[in-house]
């Protein structure tokens, strides 16, 4: 399948535990089965991500838009999905910010709210009532324009697009790749404290780590299927 299609041919379905969208390269690896070997504060922190609190920072309109954005920018196109916006919402609600602010940007919390408005404005140009109401093709196109700093007008007159994308993506990536379902997908062994890692060499793995069941060089495959510029390759 070419032209911005879905998973590469042959990517296995998850057989054990959960991954986002139930695919991954380590179909029989569930990092959560190892949680009894983790120290208590780590276990508490990681397991809490499986059941984040409901939204407190974003209102319903913003949440609808931003959930659609997070799912698009992370290609979470079906269940099960990592609850990325809920994890971001908790962080912003609790004021857990990152210790710096670009001089041409507002506070990160304000940036998130402005991005929600800006995405809805962009959706209006695609004849949709909001970003969440836009069809998948339009969502992808808006996302691509955001990533390439091509959004303009409205909110974006005041808000520098590239910095705004950097701010929201920092939180999006931290939320998604701190979730143990994502660790299953990529075969990350996880906390390993207090027992540690022993098998460090090329091609080695601990007995409890997952066997990789599928290999493809993403550089070649992403290029061939045009995944970096998905809307240009639609047809």
């Amino acid at each position: 399948m070419h032209g911005g299609g879905g998973d590469p041919d042959g990517l296995p379905r998850q057989r054990r535990g959960t991954t986002p969208q139930m695919h991954g390269r380590y179909p029989d690896f569930d990092v959560l089965e190892q949680s009894e070997h983790w120290d208590e504060p780590t276990r508490r922190a990681v397991l809490a991500r499986l059941d984040p609190p409901s939204l407190r920072f974003f209102d319903a309109t913003q949440a609808r838009t931003l959930t659609a954005f997070c799912d698009t920018v992370l290609a979470q196109d079906r269940q099960p999905r990592v609850p990325v916006l809920q994890l971001v919402d908790a962080k912003l609600h609790e004021g857990r910010l990152d210790g710096f602010q670009y001089d041409d940007m507002p506070d990160d919390r304000e940036t998130w709210r402005l991005v929600a408005r800006g995405l809805d404005e962009a959706a209006a140009e695609h004849d949709a009532a909001s970003y969440g109401d836009a069809d998948p093709e339009s969502r992808l196109a808006i996302c691509e324009a955001f990533a390439e700093a091509r959004l303009s007008g409205g909110v974006w007159v005041e808000l520098p697009v590239a910095h705004a994308f950097a701010v929201v993506m920092r939180a999006v990536l931290a939320a998604f790749y701190s979730h143990p379902w994502a660790w299953n997908e990529i075969g990350f062994g996880g906390p390993a404290h207090p027992r540690g890692y022993m098998r460090l060499g090329i091609g080695q793995k601990e007995p409890w780590e997952g066997e990789e069941a599928f290999v493809i060089d993403p550089v070649a495959d992403v290029r061939e299927r045009g995944l970096d510029h998905p809307t240009e390759h639609r047809g």
């Binding site: 911005g4 290609a75 931290a174």
Partner: protein, 539 residues
């Protein structure tokens, strides 16, 4: 027989990671005039306190963040490590703004070394005279030989593990080299194929018996705070001995202003604890808050800035990373990220077309760090997910490029205030042409190494690491903020002792040298080699 001068490793508990002795820590009242009040309990402040307490000095250390207990406060997790970074707001600007927070700023007892990777290279002798040798940067008012005995001493205290070091002033290390992982093996093969020498280490991570400090368990979360007590930070290397010798570490105490007699002497520090402003009296004050907070405190106190030098010449190192893709699984998350490094490109080589150089080090990001890497290369959505699924096939090398000190790269006070009513810091940063040429050459070198190792593809990001400068040491009052004894020009009893004092940075990670400078200053203060009066007329 060697005199034991730091018992920290024996004072730690074998069954718990937290520092013993906090319950019986000596305490002082605000109105007690202590011999020394230190602001900041990181690499500089902790070593200074530990040393001088052994000479009977009565010392209080104010630390803005918490007194950490690694067992209960830290996690083996990237996102969960958020509290160990300085997360209060700062404004970043300039043409090349520098990300702060988890990138380079610590919070709490132990400072930024709590989250540093563990690399502890020495500075080279050339770093202290780049202006004379290379016509760039600045000359320090002190030279390498003065620091050498302190390098040797601090390397024993941390302790540093690694192979014999052939670069700079060649030297060995107290602990042998750690085993390395598959990702580092691949990178090293590539370096060999290009004729580039690499060595294992140097890292401040135990590799053998060392008092009650356990051996490293290779869990790979060095940047998230070591829950094992194997990686060195002042919390385990100097704070236990400091407490044993009567130092009070007053955590959760944010210094907001240095108080003076209106002339050339300071009388104490105003700070906020539990929402109340208080003032600790002291006969001498040392500011050790690192390159953003030390200038901020001096500027907010309107001290030391007669020559308009406070906050200037703040430096970061160019820290581009290049990752290579290999057919086998390498699982770079295992083991400490710092494994092998090279200083072959450290000094100036005219044929490269720029002054000074860079070092090459393995870095090995965890999943969130790797995702930032993939995004920076332009991938999101399905492409991002596919690159991420391939995580276990990549090996990552980083460079540390020596970027030059520039007067306009400065910390200043912003218009907005923090929750204590103190103006927050603003940090402006822009590169010069030499900086850009250095980074470009370093990236090309990293790429060459990985391609020689057989990488099928490479991926590159630009970033910065570390902070130094801002209160630089200088030969005259017009050129800097402190003299060679760390005393603020024009003040009799105010000192700065942290990374901010460095006039240049080399391509070395700064933690070891910050400790070494504190060790030297402590020796001079204890021996009364530092004059009691200012060495220059007040500006």
């Amino acid at each position: 027989m060697k005199v034991v001068d730091n018992n920290s490793r024996f004072l730690l508990d074998v069954d718990r990671r937290g520092v013993p002795g906090r319950d019986r820590m000596r305490t002082y009242r605000d109105e007690d005039e202590v011999d020394l009040l230190i602001v900041g309990c990181g690499a500089g402040g902790s070593v200074l306190a530990q040393r001088l307490a052994r000479h009977g000095w009565r010392i209080v250390v104010l630390e803005a963040g918490p007194f950490w207990d690694p067992d209960t406060d830290w996690v083996s997790d990237e996102e969960g490590a958020h509290p160990i970074y300085w997360n209060a707001n700062r404004i970043v600007g300039g043409e090349d703004p520098v990300e702060l927070g988890k990138n380079n700023c610590g919070h709490g007892v132990g400072g930024s070394m709590v989250h540093f990777a563990g690399y502890t290279p020495r500075f080279h002798p050339s770093d202290f005279e780049t202006l004379t040798r290379d016509g760039v940067g600045a000359d320090w008012p002190i030279a390498y030989p003065e620091l050498k005995p302190h390098y040797e001493r601090v390397e024993r205290e941390l302790p540093v593990a690694g192979q014999h070091w052939p670069w700079g002033d060649p030297h060995g290390y107290p602990h042998g080299p750690h085993p390395i992982g598959g990702a580092a093996e691949r990178a090293w093969e590539g370096a060999r194929a290009c004729g580039i020498e690499m060595r294992v280490g140097p890292v401040a991570i135990t590799n053998g018996t060392f008092g009650n400090r356990p051996h490293c368990i290779y869990r790979g979360f060095c940047l998230q705070g070591c829950k094992v007590n194997a990686k060195a930070s002042p919390l385990v290397t100097h704070v236990p001995d400091a407490l044993e010798h009567g130092v009070e570490i007053r955590a959760d105490s944010m210094a907001i202003r240095i108080e003076t007699d209106g002339m050339d002497a300071c009388t104490g520090v105003s700070y906020v604890r539990d929402g109340h402003e208080r003032r600790q009296r002291a006969s001498a004050v040392v500011v050790a808050g690192y390159s953003i907070e030390s200038p901020r405190l001096l500027l907010n106190s309107d001290l030391g800035n007669g020559a308009d030098q406070v906050g200037r010449y703040v430096m970061v190192q160019g820290a581009p990373q290049v990752a290579g893709r290999f057919p086998e699984t390498l699982r770079m998350y295992k083991g400490p990220p710092p494994e092998v490094s090279s200083e072959q490109f450290y000094e100036t080589d005219q044929t490269r077309g720029f002054a000074r150089g860079f070092s090459v080090q393995t870095v090995s990001p965890l999943p969130i760090g790797w995702a930032e890497h993939v995004l920076a290369d332009g991938h999101w959505g399905k492409a991002l997910r596919e690159y991420m699924r391939d995580y276990n096939h990549w090996s990552t090398l980083g460079a540390l490029s020596e970027l030059l000190p520039r007067a306009e790269n400065r910390v200043s006070l912003a218009d907005q205030c923090d929750s204590f009513g103190m103006p927050i810091a603003r940090f402006d940063y822009s590169q010069c042409d030499n900086d850009r040429a250095n980074i470009a050459y370093a990236k090309a070198t990293l790429t060459r190494i990985l391609e020689a190792a057989g990488a099928q593809d490479v991926l590159t990001i630009d970033r910065y690491a570390h902070l130094v400068g801002g209160c630089r040491m200088s030969a005259t009052a017009e050129q800097g903020v402190i003299d060679s004894d760390h005393r603020v020009w024009g003040m009799s009893n105010l000192f700065v002792c942290d990374g901010s004092v460095m006039p240049t940075q080399g391509s070395a990670n700064p933690a070891l040298t910050i400790m070494v400078l504190a060790s030297r200053l402590a020796e001079r203060l204890a021996a009364k080699q530092v004059e009691a009066q200012p060495s220059a007329v007040a500006l």
